[in-house]
Amino acid sequence: VSPPSAPDGSLVPVPVALKPRGGGNGTGTGSSPELQQEAEGLAL
């Protein structure tokens, strides 16, 4: 994503790390249903 220019030039600092939730592969794609469910929390 190309950030638009801000008057004060402030941007969200890039995260130091992106970690998988619950010990998955962490790619963010093709995650297991269990990992997705953990990510969703409850949906009752």
Partner: protein, 451 residues
């Protein structure tokens, strides 16, 4: 701090919940005789009262019906499927007392769960579910009196309850010891600040409300307002996240990216499978925008808005290291509803006023992080820029659609039946009816020519 009739002491109900947004908020109940202590999830998105009725590997306790002298088996098998998870159980009745609730013992319907799938998740500290929605959602039918209806009828309390969930800014699946309050029978003034704003309940099944507009960082998403209610918008304490219809979700994520001037982010963060971790010295919340949801006011030409700050939707995760703090995205997409779940509810004291068919929102006294508020509520706003109704017609006229489809099917069936009868009638018979046996020169000639 009590019911005007003096029958209910609401102060006793303050802080009667435990839990967190990730695994839900639960209330302690005593079931059966002698009493068996169980923790029960508070869910405004369903209508059955059901508890584990058999040992389960993920649970520490269950309701042993054989040990209760007051348990009565009704025998009906009940199946309930949620957005996530399902269970099968058997309907019965027993007595219940609420240690931090209404004084007295009440007889209620209970489903003893015998089998479940993805319902009792690992690490949950509750053993059952208390569905507080309307009886229209009760299984196997709406004739099964809900827990809250039984309470209203037997304890003679007003038909209203309110909910405060106090997990704002705390890890979403932490120790599960955050507090909260379920006030049965009324409103406890010490749990909110300022004014209560009410929105009508569109239809009494879920707590379905009407959303008129969404803003991210003060900017209108400008979608057709029906998109926000596709195919319904509900207030549900049993859902962790703020769930948005797919089109709305994409627009919100796009607007957050734009407004927050995010340099680089993995799609896994927005889809919820990745955490973003920053150095503890960083303050990522300061870079994300506020999100406002506009709800129809009781005066339909007006609206009010509830606003959640990033502290509510960029949620600290339990997984932290020495120098990093990790966060998850508290919003997800949905195929069939907009769900105002715990992510949003943690910012507000929410009143479920069933008598007046409305849901109220007020600023929660516990919606603060580091002494600063994490939610806002204000109004009124004019609704001249919004359609007269934003509720999906498909959901509203569902019974009518069924009637129309049944009528059409009956008509088609009738036509088909006539055609079949005509086909099956012997040719001679048809000829008989057509010419009544009269033979003249012309007809005889034609017949013989065919032969």
């Amino acid at each position: 701090a009590s019911d005007p009739s003096g029958a209910v002491n609401f102060v006793a109900m303050v802080d009667n919940l435990q839990g967190d947004s990730g695994r839900g908020y639960y209330l302690e109940l005593l079931l059966g005789t002698p009493p068996q202590k169980l923790n029960i999830l508070v869910d405004t998105g369903s209508s059955n009262f059901a508890v584990a009725g058999a040992p389960n590997a993920d649970l520490t306790s269950y309701f042993n019906t054989k040990e209760s002298s007051t348990y009565k088996l009704l025998g009906t098998v009940v199946t309930v499927k949620y957005t996530q998870g399902s269970w099968i159980g058997t309907l019965g009745t027993d007595v219940v007392t609420i240690p931090k609730g209404i004084n007295g013992t009440f007889t209620i319907n209970i489903v003893a769960i015998s089998e479940s799938e993805n319902f009792f998740l690992k690490g949950v500290q509750w053993h059952g579910i208390l569905g507080l929605a309307y009886d229209a959602l009760a299984k196997p039918s709406s004739s099964v009196e809900t827990f809250f209806d039984s309470l209203v009828n037997q304890a003679n309390i007003p038909n209203i309850f309110s909910l405060q969930m106090c997990g704002a800014g705390l890890p979403v699946t932490g120790t599960g010891t955050n507090g909260g309050s379920l006030v049965l029978g009324g409103i406890e003034p010490s749990l909110y600040k300022g004014e209560i704003w009410y929105t009508p309940v569109e239809k009494e099944w879920y707590y379905q409300v009407e959303i008129l507009k969404l803003e991210v960082g003060g900017e209108n998403l400008n979608l057709d307002c029906k998109e926000y209610n596709s195919d319904k918008a509900i207030v549900d304490s049993g859902t962790t996240l703020l769930r948005l219809p797919e089109k709305v979700f994409s627009a919100v994520v796009g607007a957050i990216i734009q407004k927050s001037l995010i340099q680089e982010f993995s799609s896994g963060f927005w889809s919820g499978v990745q955490l973003a971790c920053w150095a503890k010295s960083e303050q990522p919340w300061t870079f994300f925008p506020e999100i406002s949801i506009y709800l129809r006011d009781e005066n339909s030409s007006r609206s009010f808005r509830i606003t959640i700050f990033p502290q509510l939707y960029i949620q600290p995760a339990f997984e932290t290291s020495q120098n990093l703090r990790c966060y998850r995205f508290g919003i997800s997409s949905s195929t069939n509803a907009l769900v105002i779940g715990a992510t949003v509810m943690e910012g507000f004291y929410v009143i479920f006023d069933r008598t007046q068919k409305r849901v109220g929102f007020a600023l929660s006294t516990c919606a603060e992080v580091g002494g600063s508020p994490v939610s806002g509520i204000d109004g009124p706003f004019e609704t001249t820029d919004v359609a007269s109704t934003c509720v999906s017609t498909i959901s509203f006229h569902e019974p009518l659609l069924w009637i129309v489809s049944y009528a059409l099917m009956s008509f088609c069936g009738l036509v088909l039946l006539v055609l079949i009868v005509l086909l099956l009638l012997p040719a001679r018979c048809r000829r008989h009816y057509s010419d009544n046996g009269i033979v003249n020169d012309e007809s005889s000639l034609v017949r013989h020519r065919w032969k």
